[in-house]
Subunit: 323 residues, 2 copies
Amino acid sequence: MELGKRIKAGDIRAASRLIRNIEDNVSEAKTTIKHIFPFTGNAHVIGITGSPGAGKSTLVDGLIEWHRKLDRTVGVLAVDPTSPFTGGAILGDRIRMQRHAEDPGVFVRSLATRGALGGLAKAVGDAIHVVDAMGKDVILVETVGTGQQEVEIINHAHTVIVVLVPGMGDEIQAIKAGIMEIADIFVVNKADREGSQKLHRELMTVLDMSKIPKDGWRPPILMIGNAFDPVEFDRGMTELTEKVKGHYDHLISTNQIGDRIRRKTRHELNEALRSCILEPVMKMLVTSGELDTMIDVLLKKESDPYTIAEDVAGRYLQDCIKP
Amino acid sequence: MELGKRIKAGDIRAASRLIRNIEDNVSEAKTTIKHIFPFTGNAHVIGITGSPGAGKSTLVDGLIEWHRKLDRTVGVLAVDPTSPFTGGAILGDRIRMQRHAEDPGVFVRSLATRGALGGLAKAVGDAIHVVDAMGKDVILVETVGTGQQEVEIINHAHTVIVVLVPGMGDEIQAIKAGIMEIADIFVVNKADREGSQKLHRELMTVLDMSKIPKDGWRPPILMIGNAFDPVEFDRGMTELTEKVKGHYDHLISTNQIGDRIRRKTRHELNEALRSCILEPVMKMLVTSGELDTMIDVLLKKESDPYTIAEDVAGRYLQDCIKP
């Protein structure tokens, strides 16, 4: 309770500690999440996703700056192993990030996965709650965006920015295949590079072929050039921030925000159910050493995984629910 | 049982049907997996992972050809949405793949995820079993390799090939952050491009800094040039296939193969436990409409996800295991 109150008061150390406990899957973290949950749901959550090297962090940095100018507080969660926020950065990026370190209106944390069973998905949702309960107006979530898991950003964010760079010949293929469906805004970054016009054209074509729903939002495609040219970069960031605001206004005016929040909530409940139902069973099997015995049986082909799992379900699930 | 026998006899339609059922999470699929399980564990499973556009499919194609020349049968599972095998291909790639379509010694299937809860991880493992039970000597699994989920290829493959291309400035960052740990062999693909020597040097540096375990395998770094230059491509493929064989021989001679198989089996058991314990509970909540009611409660902030999930656990788990 104490920790929850401190987080609500914006205490950075308390929030960092809770996020660390979430990452480490410490069971007390759940208790604190319960306490802060009523104070969540107020922030605008913006996902920024794209390949490693697409320049996502530069855009995150620009978005921080823009929101701070408007006196909005900002939380940043970096789920990208290549993000400067997480330490996998080249020196220049790191230095750029430093300037927010002293600003009490900016809270930055990186997230890593521990443990196998979909740990990250749960950690991201809970960490967003922490930053949300701290009262931050905007939460920026930076993820790597090619895998299936990263497409899950749609389960957490109200607005998803997909960042692409020219030069990867068949990047467009990836777009067709999944990222297309999650993008609210496209950024063609490093647009001074060769191939940016081609990438823009291809995106336009794919968008032209896509069905735009009634009351729909056609994802705009922004071209943002060299981050080292301040005038050009400012122009790009101004356009981006306008579109981000435009998308949020659109969600509210069409009441689509309700659908997004519902999807977020459902996803979160799924994760909590896994944590409260599957995890205790796994824990018991591991601590009793039974899991190792089961693996030995499987290695000898004396049984198969489903027969063993059904037997475990038979022992630990109530009769009404047995498979 | 019938279906299992047909799969064991190498029946392509039976295998395709089972894989489709696995993807769709049809419950009868489990029964068939149980039947074929004793006939699995014989194939050499090779993972090929890398960013979209890294040219993984070209290497897969080369590996198919090489194994066929040695009269080995090959199964291919493409988990990559950008793979030519899955339909997200540019025309040239698709045509190249066609030539294997008529060869009865080659079985190719793509895998897609349906449903949220880590469906792909389970589907990949089960699909590998299907191809394994068909008696294929080698199974090539192509995945996109930047996200956490894709790093899971290590849970399925005996040998993991990580494919990189020069030109993405901080690709090396991604390597440091996870892919490094899973690679048995590195391929710098499209090595005729600018920056390939730099990428090679950076990889060497990272490898030099890494601890190589006793009886260890230092991942070789292969440079493979333009796929449209047949002589150069053949040279590269010959080197790659030698290293793949070399790695497998190393696993066997050092008995590390046992550890890998144990890890695979453990992972698989985890997935089966999820399927038999968490899924029945989820299904009951969905079909009874209770899940929707719970979401409404959460939206009104009248409760929180963990309190609800613990309540569900209290109802459906036996007392001995309640959280």
